[in-house]
């Protein structure tokens, strides 16, 4: 796992347009700042190595190295990441009904983690319409205020950095797969000598196929609706194929094909749909409105879900095998597309080549991708 400095970060991530604005590099030092959905560098910095580069999810993501370090085994060609169980879940009776997308499972898990004292605070994405911003929530009320979906990534990890710098030691993060990958980088490459910033105590991942470039989406929508009127956005389950924008004047449906151009190039290289690097992962439950799919990935996660059910935060049911198969195929599809795209663009690294790439895998998997066997 290679670590370089900020100049290389610019060359490898910013300049090729791969930055997804997660905020991992922001507020670690005075040089990087999030602004208008982008991460910008304010001044030149010539350090040879930095956390900005080490922890970025879009510098070379050494999948093989991370898997060996964090999972204790190779990064596999197949699957949806380590997990103990996949269940159906929704918010329990202790959560009043809110404007959740799906079943409110994320809010329920965060509330439970706060309630159990597992974490002191949780970093969520808040804000309305296009004005998304990370929030640090310390109570269930604050968690509920952040509920709902956004389709542009926020500099969530900048809020984690800020919370840690201010002495909030254990933090839960609700993360997209790329943000979960950034947090995996932190666990694999700790850097305690430069202050408090580091891994999150709990990572609640989200399922994600792609996101939209914030500035691109803003100017796209500005041509169709008054930006200040936007209340919420949603992409209903297939076969709808639209982005639904709720405004003060009613709702607007935009065919997904029209906004595909706003998907950042980095999403095309992403092999992870189900936040494989997170402790738990939450997504839609296709065909069962009001419920979520919940992937419980490790023992810490299992303990949390059990406590959440016991305390009435969460309700869980069995997830049908057929749906699980469908989920696995979808996850596999994204993994295959991401790895193949990286290979096609010369951004897939194998063992023994030391040029910085986007993704790095073990030799067997590399060969399998080359031979088109990962499908």
């Amino acid at each position: 796992m290679i670590t370089r400095g900020p100049r290389q970060l610019l060359a490898e991530v910013q300049q090729p347009g791969l930055c997804i604005g997660c905020g991992s590099c922001v507020e670690l030092c005075p040089y990087f700042r999030s602004h208008g959905g982008k991460t910008v560098m304010l001044h030149d910095c010539d350090l040879a190595e930095g956390r900005c580069h080490a922890w970025c999810p879009k510098t070379e993501l050494d999948l093989e190295g991370l898997a060996q370090t964090l999972w204790g085994r190779p990064y596999p060609a197949q699957g949806m990441g380590p997990h103990l169980a996949v269940v159906a879940a929704k918010a329990g009776p202790r959560l009043e009904s809110g404007s959740y997308q799906g079943g409110g499972t994320v809010s329920a898990l965060v509330c439970a983690a706060l309630d159990e004292g597992l974490v002191q605070g949780a970093v969520l994405t808040g804000g309305q319409g296009l004005q998304t911003a990370p929030r640090l929530a310390a109570t269930p009320e604050e968690v509920i205020a952040c509920a709902g979906s956004r389709f542009t990534a926020a500099p969530t990890l900048a809020a984690l950095n800020r919370a840690q710098a201010q002495g909030c030691g254990s933090v839960a993060v609700v993360a997209t797969p790329c943000q979960a990958a950034a947090l995996a980088q932190r666990r694999a490459k700790p850097w305690p000598q430069r202050g408090a910033a580091g891994p999150a105590e709990l990572v609640i991942g989200l399922f994600c196929n792609w996101s939209l470039d914030p500035q691109g989406l803003a100017s796209f929508l500005a041509q169709r609706v008054e930006p200040r009127e936007i209340r919420s956005m949603d992409i209903p389950p297939p076969p709808a194929g639209v982005l639904k924008v709720e405004t003060g004047q009613g709702s607007l449906e935009i065919p997904l094909d029209e906004i595909r151009g706003l998907i950042p190039p980095a999403c095309g290289l992403c092999p992870d749909m189900t936040s494989e690097w997170a402790d738990l992962a939450v997504g839609m439950y296709e065909g069962r409105p009001g419920w979520n799919t919940l992937v419980v990935r490790n023992e810490k996660a299992r303990a949390l879900t059990e406590a959440a059910v016991e305390k009435g935060w969460l309700v869980m049911e069995k997830f049908p095998a057929a749906n699980q198969e469908h989920l696995l195929q979808a996850a596999q599809g994204k993994r295959s597309r991401g790895l193949s795209a990286a290979l096609a663009q010369g951004l897939l690294g194998g063992p023994g080549d030391d040029q910085p790439k986007a993704l790095r895998v073990g030799s067997e998997l590399y060969k399998a991708v080359e031979n088109g066997e990962v499908a």
Binding site: C29, Y31, H35, K38, V40, H43, D46, L47, R51, G195
Partner: protein
Amino acid sequence: MEGQRLTMMGNQAITQGALEAGVRVAAGYPGTPSSEIIQNLAGAADEHGLYVEWSINEKVSLEVAAAASLAGLRSLCAMKQNGVNVASDFLLHLAGSGVRAGMVLVHCDDPGALSSVNEGESRHFARMLELPLLEPSDFQEAKDMTKWAFELSEEIGNLVMLRSVTRLSHASGGVVPGPIPAPGGQARFDHHGSPRDLRHGPVSSAPVGYKHRLQQEKLKRAVELFEDSPFNSYVGPESPELLVITSSICNLYVKEALALLDARDRVGVLKLGTTWPLPPKLLQRHLQRCEQVLVVEEVIPFLEENVKIAAAEMAGEIGAKKFFGKREGTLPAQGELNPDLVLKALAGILDLPYQARPAQYDRLAQELAPQATQDRELAFCPGCPHRASFWSLKEALALDDRDGFICGDIGCYSLAMRPSGYGLLKTLHAMGSGAGMASGFGQLGRFGMDQPVMAVSGDSTFYHAVIPALINAVHQKSPMSLVVLDNSGTAMTGFQPHPGTEANALGQPVPPVDIEAICRSLGAEVTVCDPFDLKATQAAAVGLLADQSTAKVLILRQLCALSPQRKGTKPYEVRVDPEKCLGDQCGCNRLCTRVFGCPGLAWEKESGKARIDEVICAGCGVCASVCPQGAIIISEGA
């Protein structure tokens, strides 16, 4: 002091000459190297009964001085070389109309651009506008010639130009002052005569045919006087091998070079003080002395070309000459001269060896040079508000992330083209040009340009030339942002008052003209910030960049660290807490010294941490906002 030799700065000698001539009104606009002339006259105003003003710009200053002349009072106007360009439209018409009481325009060129962003030549205005030109060559002459310039002006009824250069204006040497007439004088503008009556009629350059002919007759009269002027002199053998023709401070360089070469018996020196129009008879007498001529002068080959034209016209009498100078490369075509450059030219022509110092020492010096004589980049002073302003503008442009840029103009803040201002200025031309160019860049969105544009201007510059550009931008709805760096004085040239200050050149109270009110009255959106508040300034600048609808103004107001009110005082005592500063272990990568770059900061080699140099620190406290660890501690009441 009368009669006793003093050491005077060239500009002071010019002032003394004007006082001895009985000057009554003086006006100018500050500009190095001319500023001390008006400054000194303002200082002498009370004692000698003068009216002196710092005008809003050079053109107005010339108009103010001309009014006095037309009302029968001797007047002087002073400016730097490019100031003449600003004044030139009026100058053209004044040259055509003529003046009444003696009027002198002192224009100070800056060969080598020691304090300019141009190496402009102002002598050609004399030829172009048909006015007589004088060039003093030492300090005594600067005084004597200025005094005589007023007499010449009255004799011919037209303005006289007197050109100085930095190395004369800002150098000092021996001058014996003479008596200064008692205060007095009655002003009255006589305008009841015929338009053709130069002393009593209305004053204009029209009727043009008539006035132009008169103007040229005045110039002919000047040439007659120049033929016998004591300011033209010859030193050297009767028949030298080489005739040097020179003027201005170059005369002292020639004198020095000939002494070092021990060649005074081989070379004759014709020093000219009256350089336009050249007196032909005098020139012919000296050109006849020998076949080779070297012309030594700075900036463009003005004298050289005029001598060559004269020599061609009298070729029948004097024969063909071989000329050396700038045109064939004996002397460099750019940059200022000095004794060494003149010496090199002379040694080449005369084929003389010269060694300034033993070769062994010279070698040693050359070996040591590169190791230790690194350039001292010019930098904003410690405590300068501009550093803080440009810091925030830099961050705002980075946050905006659309490759925006800043158009600059003339003032201390021109340094922002250099590392001290983070290299932010991307255009730099004349006074007010930043705003004008930004007004133009702002219109290019229709051609696909998506970079936001800002302009910066100082407070004095704002009045001088920015107002028309801003009106243009507002009226044309150009989406540009003007940032006025208001440090409450003409800082670059030594805190001369301007229309925004509460006292004039004479120290009398005057109503300050408010920049903010002017901008608002034009309909521009105006924000005012203290640049020492980095957060607020950055937020304001980000807002300006985001709004691309129209022209906007941000006024960043904070006193110059060298201003009389601020100098020598420290608003804060500043120190680095060595416990809090993580030094080389911090992820900041020496943000305070490496990037912010205030000269009052230092990076201690031994501890690997930041330190304040208490001798240099001006106590502005801005670095405390820059340090991400809060390790720079400021406390009030130092």
